[in-house]
């Protein structure tokens, strides 16, 4: 790797965000006036100095990227992975010169094209033909270059019949195909791509991946972000893992992906030796496991499939009643849900005799968002008394199932991601 084309040293990007101060238990008018005056003063000062005005009483610095160092050699295909908010997009934006870094330095050798969105600048009123030229110019192609590749682009997008139709009349599939076709014919030394491979139907995606492979085999350098781990695995020569704005690992794609998926720090299965079992007065837990539909241990269930938490326990007293509660935390340690087995029809509230039991809690598919989860279990006796909590004993990382994203490839915000019923009708 003597021929380094991208070198980032100590790269950092800081944003300043404002907060509203927590209000005191009682608020004096004097304080309110004083604070208001302070805010106005600060805003006036910011405006005079040409700084952005920030709402809120307290300012906080947030580092979207901090001290990121890496090198990319000529002809490498480097995948960038990380959870939502890890700084992937900020990194690409900094490398594409869209936003200025706050510290550090990057040197890039050669012509760079970045593709952070398909169809940037597409105008709905303009025809397909016109948009090819517009989008091409926006992505940095010369007019002569677009003219030369025009037929190829049209053939790739499969929209020849609709070239002179305004793109607002295109189906979303056609739109995406046309947009990607233009981008796919970019010819830079270094290509920076954000999360754009996961669009279009499966067949078109395949075509895009092939095109990418073609580009890579011509010795061009590619840097790309994707949630699509299989494509990172198959396309990349190396991968970079970002976590909370820091670069945590660089290496072969499969090892980095493993590290990324295992990043929840929790195993999907936990067994306790007889002497160390968590217990209350009447029962002890032997093992807890995350399982999929096929009853296999599942550390990476997909968003579209149900996932089960199987709790094996031993009742060591005759004639007892037992209950279980499952608590599910996400990686920000927010409690996503809790569930009690008091709707379980067979055994809940009934008298149990000595022996081994297995209780399974199934979380339906299309409920959890992607990301890491940890599970806590509460074992309790009759009338919710005699409770014992097993804190975060197992965990799993939910990944996108095939096709669940539809045509959207960005971050799904929110704690959960249920598939809701949508309906539109013309009135």
């Amino acid at each position: 790797m003597s021929d380094v084309v991208i070198r980032a040293e100590g790269l950092g990007k800081k944003y300043i965000i404002g907060h509203e101060t927590r209000r005191e238990s009682y608020t004096a008018l004097r304080d309110v006036i004083a604070r208001g005056a302070q805010n106005i003063l600060r805003k006036a000062r910011d405006m005079v100095h040409g700084r952005p005005i920030i709402e809120g009483d307290e300012l906080e610095e947030v580092w979207a990227l901090r001290n990121v160092n890496f090198e990319v050699g000529r002809g490498e295909v480097v995948g960038i992975i990380g959870r939502n908010g890890a700084g992937k997009s900020t990194l690409l934006k900094t490398l594409s010169r869209i936003t200025d870094p706050s510290e550090g330095r990057v040197s890039i050798k050669g012509r760079v094209a970045s593709l952070l969105e398909v169809g940037t600048g597409f105008h709905p009123e303009l025809t397909g033909r016109e948009n090819i030229f517009l989008n091409g110019a926006i992505l940095g192609m010369a007019r002569t270059e677009i003219k030369r590749k025009f037929d190829e682009i049209v053939a790739f997008a499969e929209v020849a019949k609709f070239l002179d139709t305004p793109v607002k009349r295109y189906s979303s599939g056609m739109y995406v195909r046309l947009a990607f076709a233009v981008a796919a014919h970019l010819d830079p030394d270094i290509l920076i791509i954000d999360e754009v491979l996961a669009v279009g139907d499966a067949q078109f995606q395949q075509k895009c991946l092939q095109k990418m492979e073609g580009v890579a085999s011509q010795g061009r350098t590619i840097l790309f972000v994707s949630h699509n781990l299989p494509s990172i695995q198959s396309l990349c020569t190396r991968a970079i893992l970002l976590d909370h704005g820091k670069l945590t690992a660089v290496g072969a794609p499969h090892t980095i992906i493993q590290q990324y998926l295992g990043g929840g720090h929790f195993e999907a299965q936990r067994q306790w030796p007889a002497s160390k079992r968590p217990k209350n007065a009447v029962a002890e837990i032997a093992s807890i496991a995350i399982r999929d539909q096929q009853n296999a241990i599942a550390s990476n269930p997909t968003t579209d499939q149900p996932v089960s938490i199987a709790i094996d326990y031993i009742v060591n007293q005759p004639d007892v009643a037992l209950g279980l509660t499952v608590l599910l935390y996400n990686e920000r340690h927010e409690l996503v849900l809790s569930s009690i087995n008091n709707h379980e029809p067979q055994w809940y509230g009934r008298s149990m005799s000595r022996g081994s039991y297995r209780t399974i809690c199934t979380i339906p598919g299309h409920l959890l968002n992607d990301g890491g989860y940890s599970v806590s279990i509460i074992l309790f006796g009759r009338n919710f008394a005699d409770a014992h909590t097993v804190e975060e004993c197992v965990g799993f990382t939910v990944i996108d199932g095939p096709g669940v994203r539809g045509d959207y490839f960005g971050e799904f915000k929110g704690a959960i991601r249920p598939l809701l019923d949508w309906k539109t009708e013309q009135l």
Binding site: T99, D100, P101, S102, E103, R105, I108, H123, R143
Partner: protein, 275 residues
């Protein structure tokens, strides 16, 4: 093939900014073409607007200032023609300024996703204003034919004044569009300034009616020198150019342009974070 090395550092002044701007000239042309195409794509109404607005304003101003207020025209020129010769640069200025001021906000998606020298965006919108101007120029020729008015040799200098009007709008336009990214309330200021500007600039009347001792002060408004220049070109000798005032207007235009470019360059790098 020689490779260029690009260095990205915080606050690093773009060493080749102007060369970069030249390098991106095709993008400038295509964005300008997009604005024009989109504007005139929606049937003929777009063109009709460019014709109707100055024409009706000319009629109203001629009636109000010429007939009702009985203000004098420049020399022997028909009042309507004098008004129209003043309105041409004013509408060029006001639509260029208005377009440029809103341009960055209107292109937020581009700014967040692609790098290019941002100055291209406000500059490209000015082309639309120029096209409107060319259409109005056709009406001017019609009005001149109607009054059987032949221009003098001065008309040959008109392009220079067109460039001046564009530069006059570019300076404040760059400034305001940069401010607009941070403080969205500036977009409400523009229509207000343009509204007032229409009346404090010599559009509906001749700047000859301003008392001699105030004329230099009046020329602090850069549009005074530009409108006078247009009238001098179009109406020939009938509207003499007031030298010191014109120079002062020119200086004001240059100062605003410099301020505008400076402010724009200073804030350009933060646009993507704010927009």
């Amino acid at each position: 093939m020689k490779e260029t090395t690009l260095i990205i550092e915080p606050g690093r002044a773009e060493a080749h900014y102007w060369r970069d701007l030249w390098h991106y000239r095709e993008l400038f042309l295509i964005l300008a073409w997009r604005d024009v195409a989109v504007r005139y794509k929606q049937t003929l109404i777009g063109v009709a607007w460019a014709v109707l607005r100055p024409f009706l304003t000319m009629v109203v101003f001629t009636v109000v200032f010429g007939k009702l207020a009985r203000l004098p025209s420049d020399g022997q020129t028909p009042y309507a023609l004098m008004v129209f010769a003043g309105m041409l640069p004013w509408y060029l200025f006001s639509s260029a300024l208005g377009g440029a001021a809103d341009s960055l906000i209107g292109s937020a998606n581009l700014i967040g996703k692609v790098y290019f020298p941002r100055m291209i965006i406000p500059a490209a919108t000015i082309v639309t204003a120029l096209i409107d101007f060319l259409i109005s120029l056709v009406i001017l020729i019609a009005v001149m034919l109607w009054y059987r008015f032949a221009p003098g040799w001065q008309i040959l200098l008109l392009p220079a004044f067109v460039v001046l009007a564009v530069l006059a709008s570019l300076g404040p336009g760059l400034w305001i569009t940069a401010l607009n990214v941070k403080y969205r309330d500036f977009r409400y200021v523009i229509p207000f300034i343009l509204q007032i500007g229409l009346y404090i600039s010599p559009v509906g009347f001749s700047s000859g009616i301003v008392p001699e001792q105030w004329r230099l002060l009046y020329s602090l408004n850069p549009m005074v020198g530009i409108i006078d220049g247009f009238r001098w070109c179009i109406l020939g000798g009938e509207s003499p150019l007031y030298g010191p005032g014109f120079v002062l207007s020119l200086v004001v235009v240059i100062v605003f342009l410099w301020l505008g470019i400076r402010r724009f360059r200073n804030t350009e790098k933060t646009f993507a974070d704010l927009i």
